[in-house]
């Protein structure tokens, strides 16, 4: 399953407004891709660790969730978690309207991989 996600992640194309993105696996490894100078892969992987921690703590606090959005002054981080615990995070610029269709497609594909694997 991890290989499938990795393959999908590596082949995914950037869309308007995306700065970087990362995937955090339940085995606590992570991969990242960046399209902006200020976003190093190491820093994005660290951010994904925090995202995964937060999903866990939200569950512990019985806060029902399907997605989270971290709002910073300079950027947004949109995240989703699959039932198996794999998390996807996408950093988006706040300077321009992002391509919502591209973003929707990205997350839909991510969740669909889970269904495919479950079959």
């Amino acid at each position: 399953m991890k290989e499938l996600i990795n393959q999908w992640f590596e082949q995914s194309d950037p869309f308007e407004g995306i700065l970087a993105c990362g995937v955090r696996y339940p085995d606590q490894t992570a991969v990242a891709k960046t399209w902006s100078d200020g976003f190093s892969e190491v820093a994005v992987e660290n951010a994904m660790r925090c995202v995964a921690d937060c999903f866990q703590v939200l569950q512990l606090n019985r806060i029902p969730l399907t997605r989270t959005r971290w709002v910073y002054q300079g950027a947004l981080l949109q995240c989703e978690r699959r039932p198996d615990g794999t998390c996807l995070g996408v950093f988006l610029t706040r300077e321009a309207e992002p391509d919502l269709t591209g973003l929707n497609r990205f997350f839909t594909e991510f969740q669909a991989l889970a269904k495919t694997a479950a079959l």
Partner: protein, 382 residues
Amino acid sequence: MAQKRKRILFVDDEVGLLDFLQQLMGHFAGPAWEIFTAPDVSKALGILQEQKVDLLVLDIHMPVVDGLQFLGLLQRKFPNVLKVVLTGDATEHHRATCLSNGAELFLEKPRDEGGWRSIFATLHELTRFQPEEGFRGVLRRVGLQDVLQMECLARNSSVLKIHAGSAHGTVFVKEGQIIHAQCGNRIGEDAFNYLMGLTGGEFDVQPFTAPPAQSISGSWEFLLMEAARKRDEQGTIPPPQGHSDSGFPTPTPVPAGERHTPVIVPVIEAATPLIEVSSEDEAGASRGPSVRPQVEELLVCSLQGEVLHEWQCTNTNGRVGFLEFLSQKARQLAQGLPLGEFDRLEVNGENARVVAQIQPDRALFVRTGRVTAESSEGAIQP
């Protein structure tokens, strides 16, 4: 320039493991680390009182006070000490609980030297991060009662200086017993109860000095319980008006009778969903009765974790704890990234939405649900 030597404290009830860690980590770190060990929480607190510890590594399962309880105490009294849990019982539940109680990392005890080397590398990397003093405050849920309890439990000797508006008070603790309190003309238990009834202000824990008199002789447990009872009976006491030395605004006290009254809170910037609902959902929504959000739970707290306003909050401590966790995580997440200041976390579920906002002087937690228009009459609208 030579790097400052880091002070690392390992807390574990297995004395053999502590000896092993002292030797192995000392070998890996060389002169970069000064290593301390403690077999229980009491000894660990003693070391923390005497030394400025940079990183504390603790086990979960320990007698008397376990690691989870200890994390909670540490988060209140030593919020700037980095904390890492190192355990042989690495369940997902423990992991989530430890992280939500302030642990930076949750690590499993390795079984070979390579594993220990990785642990060392991880801890060493962590000590390179220095917590930023005053960064919007890692929220500190420090209550006067909490600190007094800590001081007494640890059998410490200290002096608590309390400032609230124009009122200045002092509580003396000697070897875990409260022996004297004064505030203006009040002295003894009268002063103690008055100070414990204050809702706002600041306090410092200072080294013990001999009090001018010994005005209290009862057990600290009884004193705290009695103070809590009086506070419930009489309501909380607003700090007297006057100049405050606090760099933070003194929280506005909320009279007991108003605690459950819905309040108007600062308006959050309109949060339009980034991912829109599908056209199918929209069509479905338009066919059925109109659905709109309704506030179901609300909490506003100060940087000190004091609840300023709450409405229908079923787990106040849990929510404050979550805001503390979020404040810490948002800072960690932004490390090395050009994100600017953190504003809020939005959590969207199928039928609920949560917004947790961290502001320079307060934090906000709002949970909303979706209700049909017919059933929402009289409800608060966000």
